[in-house]
Amino acid sequence: MPHVAEWKKDEVANLKDLINSYEVVGMANLADIPAPQLQQMRRTLKDSATLKMSRKTLMSLALNDSEKAQIENLEDYMEGQPALIFTNMNPFKLYKILESSKTPAPAKAGSIAPEDIIVPKGDTAFKPGPVLGELQKAGIPAKIEKGKIVITNDKVIVEAGEVIPRDVASILTRLEIFPLEVGIDLRAAYEAETIYTSDLLTVDEEKTLADVQKAFTQALNLSVEAVIFNKESTPLIIQKAVSQSLNLALNAEILNEKTRDVLLAKAYAQMLALASEVSAKDENAVDDELKE
């Protein structure tokens, strides 16, 4: 490649080195990240991953030139302002870290709403003025109430996947609604001949937590039901035994130290209940003690 500048060759060699020395290579999109935030994220990642921005052509060259099988397919995920991330972390963990470091950002005219953008009902900080007209023009139901502009209903102003119009973007920012997220957007990650796309990398922690609880419950259920004794199940099995035994004793009216109070109380309660019905018919049918 005689016509290729020396620095470009160095850069490709450097990228290739990185590709070869890390297990996981991610393709990210850094578009729309303000410089200070990007710096902050680099610092966050410092110990666990290396972020490398470069020209698309150079990254393609490095990927295609690597001996790692299938890695060249990462090319397909170059978007916006692409960058490579190198790490030995589990790619799911990498994705999780990057996602959690994203921060809310103001709406930008022309960007796509990641989810429904809702303007919530309630007071605004605006005094009556021309802003009311702007709100209404943007389709937000607003009126003046007690010297303030108030939004009367929740309003989905941009649906998920739709483009945010210029006037709406400016209104959202003035309302301090920040519907976008900025951060390192990991589009795909390569590890051991496999490419994990971002949809695969999404880890549902809530579901995992629910599954853990479900597994524990199932284990408890099974061990109690099959009467398998262990630390967790044995107290429950004991309670089941005691409960069944008490049920039997109470239902069969067998008096013992555990049942007698309950049975006496039951008789007394029944008597009072019956007495109240009787006295409702005729006060004189019950003695004075019961007439209260």
Binding site: A267, A269, Q270, L274, A275, D282, N284, D287, E289, L290
Partner: protein
């Protein structure tokens, strides 16, 4: 309360809650029998479903339990 217990006792043993039976039980229990009250009790019980009335305790009682949960 002895009148009510007597009625419950007779109800449980399946005996008729008659003047005679009530008196017999009360006397066996060493109670002084008030004829007027016996009559009033029997009259009052005529319209009462004893089983149901006793059960009501359980139900009424069960509610607060649940509430207390």
């Amino acid at each position: 309360m002895e009148y009510i217990y007597t009625a419950m006792l007779l109800h449980t043993t399946g005996q008729e809650i008659s003047e005679e039976n009530v008196k017999k039980v009360l006397e066996a229990a060493g109670a002084e029998v008030d004829e007027a009250r016996v009559k009033a009790l029997i009259a009052a019980l005529e319209d009462v479903d004893i089983e149901e009335a006793m059960e009501k305790t359980a139900v009424a009682a069960a509610a607060p339990v649940a509430a207390a949960a």
